[in-house]
Symmetry: C2
């Protein structure tokens, strides 16, 4: 009990005590008036965080299910899709599209880099029959955020649907679903929503609904049309994850009360602080600095340091859980999550522990330097 734990991974993220308490609300009838009121409120607040006046559908599912739902609801087997991938999650989405029979054209970038809108433009010029473009807003495996606004402009100019994986970006980074013309935007509970995993959220534009009417990929559980029909009367076609919605009600009220802009700024500040702190210890970052993420920072393991050993010491000696690398970066990087219910003291504590661990591993780290640099940024006295 006396080992206080800090969960510094890019999801599932820590859950505020008020939300944990709400999860423990006694069960209600999912076809009754109390539930209707609950769903109505959370959907309304979901629209706020998606910055949309269109539909937001809620599925009992992990985020990956939301990505599958996006594919099967707007495409038919044989449809051409452009996959703009900058890491493991972009690759996963392309794999889902292929699984259901889409013809996927890869537009992949080096892990650690952001997608270049001009390259996307060229790919769309070369493939004028592309029906949809898949883009990861924030790539959790590399800590890189794409310039979605610029990519959206390119996609809009060509005409295909714009499908966005915003699982680790929404609420942490500005994403204007309607204003930028995003057609399907997928988010997940266990990131900046500050609730436990088990819900996927999907914003659907009118253009996506038009595509849905003719989309032939097989679907039942993920089918948007009955989900919208039921949600119009504040129900769902099958049993919703009621207690996660109890938690969501509390977290969305808090997010809305503070305002999205404040959330973006707080996340940006935390990202800057972690990056500056890591660099002050002499560590190298994976992400292109112009596209570094508000949600997660990928740090390259110093020469001779085992990621496994470093993470183990962080966890066992300091009670701080960090994430390892994914896919081809597994042994090369470790990641610090800084999204959702992470506060500035958590950032400071993490950097201080990392300084200690690196020193114990024999690296020439000046203790306190990273913390000082990060503290300046977090206090708002230094911008970068």
């Amino acid at each position: 009990m006396l080992t206080k734990k800090l969960l510094m991974i890019p999801g599932p993220t820590p859950v505020p005590p008020e939300v944990l308490q709400a999860l423990a609300t006694p069960m209600i009838n999912h076809r009754g008036p109390e539930y209707a009121e609950l769903q109505r409120e959370v959907v309304e607040n979901c629209k706020y965080v998606f910055q949309t006046s269109g539909d937001v559908l809620v599925f009992p599912s992990a985020g990956t299910g939301g990505l599958e739902a996006a594919i099967v609801n707007v495409l038919s087997p044989g449809d051409k899709v452009l996959s703009v991938s900058i890491g493991a999650f972009g690759d996963r989405w392309a794999k889902i599209a292929r699984t259901f029979g889409a013809e996927v054209i890869d537009c992949a970038f080096e892990w650690g880099e952001a997608a270049d809108p001009q390259v996307v433009d060229a790919a769309l010029r070369a493939n004028p029959d592309v029906k949809a473009v898949l883009v990861t807003h924030n790539e959790t495996s590399t800590g890189v955020t794409n310039d979605l606004r610029a990519i959206a402009e390119v996609v809009r100019a060509h005409g295909p649907l714009l499908m966005v994986d915003a699982i680790s970006s929404l609420i942490a980074t500005d994403l204007q679903t309607d204003a930028w013309g995003c057609d399907v935007v997928v988010a997940g509970a266990q990131k900046a929503f500050m609730i436990p995993p088990g819900l996927a959220f999907i914003a659907v534009s009118q253009r996506a609904w038009d595509a849905n009417a003719n989309a032939k990929m097989p679907r039942f559980y993920w089918d948007f049309a009955p989900m919208r029909k039921y949600m119009e009367r504040d129900q769902t076609p099958y049993t919703p994850a009621v207690n996660l919605l109890f938690g969501l009600r509390v977290s969305l009220r808090a997010i809305r009360a503070a305002g999205l802009q404040a959330s973006f700024e707080r996340h940006a500040r935390m990202g800057r602080a972690v990056r500056a702190g890591a660099q002050a210890m002499g560590l190298k970052l994976l992400a292109d600095p112009d596209h570094a993420s508000n949600s997660v920072t990928a740090i390259i393991a110093p020469e001779g340091v085992s990621v496994k050993e470093l993470r183990k010491r962080m966890r066992e000696e300091h009670g701080i859980t960090t994430a390892g690398g994914q896919g081809k970066l597994e042994e090369r990087i470790f990641r610090i999550g800084h999204l959702g219910y992470i506060t500035e003291p958590d950032i400071i504590a993490t950097l201080a522990a990392l300084e200690r661990v690196l020193m114990e591993l024999g690296l020439p780290v000046a203790p306190g330097k990273a913390v000082a640099v990060a503290g300046e940024i977090l206090s708002g006295r230094k911008q970068a």
Copy 2:
């Protein structure tokens, strides 16, 4: 606050306070050692409740997702499937199979009746190329439990896979996955598992794994193979619904400590008490008495009584939520759930309230009679 509420519907069912408290456990890393220990224990106890030594897979999903997963993992488009349906949920499963391209042969029975194993036998004789048989163990829409053991014998004699929807039966009614030769058995969190909705459990036999290797229906989220591969090292391919597993750990420990047999007996007793109580009020039951459910009782609304009005009075005047009818039974029946964390005093209170409501609606009910009859059964002094 002072309106104490009783949730007497066939799911989501009430959640014990110990489980509610466990839901509020702080988040942990789903790739770390604490999570591995959690998953290992709940999977082990899932095998106990499924009465299997084979695999039990856990998906973040509503029960309907589990039904879809069962279909797409063992079948290919064009495969012939026999749908043994006795109500709304049986029909839904057949619809899912059709959606993914199976050729479904309907073997449907009157709502309120159980499936006749001899009719199933004849259907399989007439269709020797059937690849799988879909059976609902307990049909939630009618309160009828099929004689799964007898149906399994028939199916085994012919050779196809036996796929069982056990969403509202598992833990409430004996289901011997291995001994009876069931190949895919689907269960859901929000029923007798006594946890909130958001998890589907699927037992998979070796024969089902063999079918899975050649099954061509498209799948990614529901794919059994990577799920098993990850579960072998106590993880899942994508983020699991961690806090529901915290709750599940507590509920399964309790179920295992008391023993499955005790659970079956308790549920059977509650079912008998509700049925006898309803009949003592002069009400008619929908289900064939030889196949009445341990989990839910469907009661035919008396002549001139509106189901809506009756349920409204139960809820508003007594704080007791009951369920309406589904599909073609919507205005004809109401249902009382008696599974999961429902105790004998809840049954008594529900019957007493129903007596009052019927009297207020002008029906000739002798107050106390239903309660007396039910009390005899619940006390174990009367068997039927």
